[in-house]
């Protein structure tokens, strides 16, 4: 009887908690997200020329020599960023493949430079941002390589 007296509230409290924490809370938050911040709530979709081209937050499969390449040894496997030194080392390859002046490529990297500690720390760039900038600046060069 004593065990039974505790099992009934345990079962009921389990179901109440399940409904509140496991259904109502995430669904209400989803509703708020969809209404108030639909862009972020749906994965920060980026567009080029009106077409969706993936999430701003994720790396993309840039493998052609005309693009800056992402890294493939990150913790997440989809790290969108590369260090500045890694980016600079790719400048000659992109120059050879596209003819875009190295000075412009380096300026582009500086334009999109970020820091791991906000104002200092290691310099890095977001690969998609830089590549998108190149595509927008040289649409005719990049036309054969994009979707």
């Amino acid at each position: 009887m004593r065990a039974g007296a505790k099992i009934s509230p345990a079962i009921r409290m389990t179901l109440i908690s399940l409904v509140i924490c496991g259904l109502v809370f995430p669904i209400v938050m989803t509703g708020i997200g969809e209404v108030a911040m639909p862009w972020q709530a749906n994965g920060s979709q980026v567009y080029y020329d009106g077409r969706p081209i993936g999430s701003e937050l994720l790396t993309q499969d840039f493998s052609l020599p005309v693009f800056f390449h992402p890294r493939n040894d990150s913790a997440s496997g989809v790290d969108p960023d590369i260090t500045m030194s890694s980016a600079i080392s790719q400048v000659p390859r992109i120059h050879n493949a596209t003819g875009i002046p190295e000075s412009f490529l380096n300026e582009s990297l500086q334009k999109y430079r970020q820091y791991t500690l906000f104002f200092f720390g290691t310099e890095y760039v977001n690969v998609l941002e830089v590549n998108l900038y190149l595509v927008e600046t040289y649409p005719s060069i990049y036309a054969p390589y994009i979707q």
Binding site: I27, M29, G54, A75, Q114, T116
Partner: protein, 553 residues
């Protein structure tokens, strides 16, 4: 070495969290002593409705047995529900990707893991769990296990404080932990996380074209922000993704990274101040706070010693400093979420991670951290009392033989449930099933697995590689023993001292700085003496081998 630039990250987070925790502790005092509040108008009717629906009397004082059994039955019921959701998700709604149910051993491991606030994950969430499982198994247990931990921590504190002459009522503490603390804070945190870029959607996963011709990527839209909010606030640590908080959709930027670190520190820190408030002497709370943060700070200093740069297994946007800061914090607060692959770190960082998990109280998980600190206080006062030839006293009451026995039983639970299964794993060759060999690296990983399980931490090296029947079942048992046995012992002590005569005032001045130092030294010695041989075989040997290699010997 810890540079000025690293301090630029660490100091503001510490400062902000400590100040906000101080204010939160004032709110928690009102919540858990049933003090009048303007929020009663909103919350009291809801809570009254929940009590009636569940058929519980939230005003009834419970003894330690009743308090413990109530929480044990509730957590068991919740684990059973989650087990069935995980195992049969293919037949349940909200599964747009048509993922199969988990095997029995994996479902068992996951249910025991999340119900014990551990969040060890032997699966990759984004490719194994339906929306329903992520919400109604994972997030659900992250809330309830955090509420259970918070309730227990508060009950133990209430008993030690002695003003209420009881440890309280479990359902009162549990329901209020949810309605007045965890749900409102998670609500705010979820909105902040969405604003920072963490998705919150039920729109389905999609394989979408990207910029380069014929290239595609998966975009995992899911109820991620709501899960991350409680996973950090409730020191749970189990992520939506296999890569946890290294995955950009779970942790998009440096700012979200620091915000998530702050979330995991918030409630455990405020409980240390709550102790002072409940006792009626902020100095007593200060003692717990200073001891816990001193050891946490020493861990950070040690972890920053080796040079560390962005490389394999580290995310560029966090850099070295935020990766190390996160790893030390997630183990010190026994959360277990990760923002970098543990294999990326120097063995010295792993050693400090071990310290956090072996001590479990610097400052430890939600509710349990404060509970373990009080366990160390009892043992320390007893040891010092023996050396000084004084009757051991704390907060004006005499510490009796029974209390010391229970505190030591609670302390010994940890080494027993870590060391025996670690040895057993190698004895039966289970490490091979997880793709490991019996060298210092393999040993570190298996030892870490059981330490993380026993400490209800949940960070691990193995991940889905440990999805074997041996590791699923063994860590499952270890997680539940590591969770509930110490709760049983500590509730018993707290209930015993709640009604004990107070006011001797002959004991050590536990509010003094000298006691803080004694407590720190005692925690350190107790832990190191217990685990030293195992640490030597694992991370220390690995460190020395790395040293030898670097000298070319």
């Amino acid at each position: 070495m810890l540079t000025l630039e690293d301090l630029f990250v660490v100091v503001p987070v510490w400062g902000l969290v400590i100040v906000l925790s101080w204010f939160l502790s004032r709110y928690l005092l009102t919540v858990f002593t049933g003090g009048k509040s303007r929020l009663d108008r909103i919350f009291s009717p809801v809570e009254g409705f929940i009590y009636r629906l569940a058929g519980v009397d939230a005003a009834k004082k419970m003894g330690w047995k009743e308090y413990f059994l109530s929480l044990l039955y509730l957590n068991a019921g919740q684990a059973v529900v989650a087990f069935f959701i995980l195992m049969f998700q293919q037949s349940l709604p909200l599964n747009p990707m048509h993922y199969h149910g988990m095997s029995w051993s994996l479902a068992l491991n996951t249910a025991l893991s999340f119900s014990s606030n551990t969040n060890l994950q032997h699966y990759n969430g984004e490719t194994a769990l339906s929306y329903l499982s992520q919400m109604s198994a994972i997030q659900f247990l992250q809330f309830t296990s955090a509420a259970t931990g918070l309730a227990t921590g508060v009950a133990v504190i209430r008993g030690f404080a002695g003003k209420a002459k009881t440890i309280g009522n479990f359902y009162f503490d549990y329901v209020r932990a949810l309605t007045r603390v965890l749900l409102p804070l998670a609500f705010i945190a979820t909105i902040v996380l969405i604003a920072m870029g963490v998705p919150q959607s039920l729109g389905g996963y999609s394989y979408e074209p990207t910029l380069q011709k014929d290239a595609y990527e998966w975009i995992y839209r899911g109820p991620i922000a709501s899960l991350v909010s409680i996973m950090q606030l409730g020191t749970n640590g189990g992520g939506y993704f296999g890569a946890n908080s290294a995955y950009p959709l779970q942790n998009p930027s440096q700012l979200s990274d620091l915000f998530e670190i702050g979330l995991m520190m918030f409630i455990p820190t405020s409980l240390l101040f709550l102790f002072g408030r409940m006792v009626g002497s902020n100095r007593e709370g200060r003692t717990l706070f200073l001891a816990a943060y001193a050891i946490y700070g020493i861990d950070l200093l040690i972890a920053f010693l080796p040079h560390f740069s962005i490389g394999r297994g580290v995310e560029v946007r966090f850099g070295a400093a935020a990766s190390v800061f996160w790893t030390v914090t997630t183990t010190a607060f026994t959360t277990g979420s990760v923002n970098a692959s543990l294999s990326a770190f120097n063995p010295v960082v792993i050693l400090t991670a071990f310290f956090g998990m072996l001590i479990q109280a610097v400052p430890g998980g939600i509710g349990t951290g404060a509970m373990y600190l009080l366990m160390y206080v009892i043992v320390t006062i007893f040891l010092v009392g023996l050396m000084a030839g004084r009757t051991p006293e704390y907060l004006g009451f005499k510490i009796e033989g029974q209390d010391v026995k229970l505190a030591v039983a609670s302390f010994l639970t940890h080494p027993i449930i870590i060391l025996i299964p670690t040895v057993l794993a190698f004895a039966v060759g289970a490490e091979r099933g997880a793709g490991l060999s019996a060298d210092s690296i393999g040993f570190t990983k298996v030892f870490y697995e059981f330490t993380s399980a026993a400490a209800n931490n949940g960070s691990d090296f193995l991940g889905s590689a440990a999805n074997t029947v041996f590791f699923n079942v063994s860590t499952g048992i270890v997680m539940w023993l590591g969770r509930f046995l110490p709760m049983l012992f500590m509730l018993a002590i707290a209930d015993g001292v709640a009604t004990r005569k107070r006011g001797y005032g002959q004991g050590l001045k536990t509010g003094s700085m000298s006691f803080v130092i004694v407590l720190i030294v005692s925690i350190f010695i107790l832990t190191v003496l217990t685990f030293f041989p195992f640490l030597v075989l694992g991370p220390i040997l690995q460190f020395l081998q790395g040293f030898r290699t670097s000298f070319g010997v």
